[in-house]
Symmetry: none
Subunit: 236 residues, 2 copies
Amino acid sequence: MKTMGLSRLSLVNPKHFPDPQAVARAADADDILEQAQVCSSLDEALAGTVQVYALSARHRNLGPPALPAREAATDILSRAGEGEVALLFGNETAGLSNAEVQRCQRTVFIPANPDYSSLNLASAVQLLCYELRLAAFDGHPPVVTRAVPFASPPAAHEDVERFYLHLERVMVSSGFLDPQRPRRLLPKLRRLFGRAELERDEINILRGLLDAVERKTSPGGAPCDTPGEGLGSAAK
Amino acid sequence: MKTMGLSRLSLVNPKHFPDPQAVARAADADDILEQAQVCSSLDEALAGTVQVYALSARHRNLGPPALPAREAATDILSRAGEGEVALLFGNETAGLSNAEVQRCQRTVFIPANPDYSSLNLASAVQLLCYELRLAAFDGHPPVVTRAVPFASPPAAHEDVERFYLHLERVMVSSGFLDPQRPRRLLPKLRRLFGRAELERDEINILRGLLDAVERKTSPGGAPCDTPGEGLGSAAK
């Protein structure tokens, strides 16, 4: 990371941290380790991000759209103008689970030998950071404006996750989703809304609709984790 | 090397070879180690080459011309048509001596953070091999399936429009949308789903959910323009 000018590292549930072996291997990059943020969940690590890119050598069923590393670097830089973006890497042995990948809006792959395509974690991180540096300094500054009429700022990761929870609740209470037999409905909807790259205003509209539906189906008082947020904000 | 499709490795005076630790670390790339040529001098390793590129982070007085990795990859490929070319790397601790670099026709550097520019040997090898692979397939990119697995065919225009009608009906019946004061909610949702480029399967899921919500809110029999379509299709 440091060789390419990146500095912010978040670790989710590291087995050992801080760890003398890690410090020794970091050589003069131990400042990155010292400043690393340790999180107890992926959602905590991703809080505040507007776009997350998951590095994955494998194709994922229902995974978000996949970009090769070089194209991804340009895309990442263009999104970085809108808010915090994150690159998500799995650990050396297990990589990322499907559930983790589905929390991201893009997957990134490194074009490799199809007969032997899995790079070491360190190599993959190095490559991505290298592509980011070159994309950032290539003399062709990325176009930052992605203005689309009526666009509101991108939704933050935690707001998108709350929307999914709310959607799931309505899917269950309406009888559409049987938790005993979920039929991959939720991953499929994650894939859809992930492609759309939800904006803050859209989240408010969608949650306002879910609120209204809940009130209608249980008139005694709808369960709602953020009372009044949805409809009110959507009116803006 | 193997992840990027390269296979020929020459080792000059290795301290330990073969070495069980190297074999273990090579994972499924141990065939590269088995076929490695062991040489007793650099000249022996370079015999028969028409061009040698030395990787070096440091600027060398009197060294050969320096190219950044990406440019070097194109140059290397163009020379490869003329005969054997080699990439020369120093060992992890000492790198290459000036005398060794001067046996080469080019040096290659990896654009990096000027405050921390020295990559690990493995990272440098990985990066160069990656650039070579991309340069080799530039213009003739290896077939990469960009399709997101489980994508169903794109939804037909009329199905999308029926979905919007259905959505609007639920928005009104739930009290979320006041037809007298629509506040551009529908155009905003059209914009969202338009960006996502809905697939047929997704339309079925969304309409199945709308059906279920309608059944719940008016148990006497939901109005439905295409009875049974939504939920049934989503179950496929």
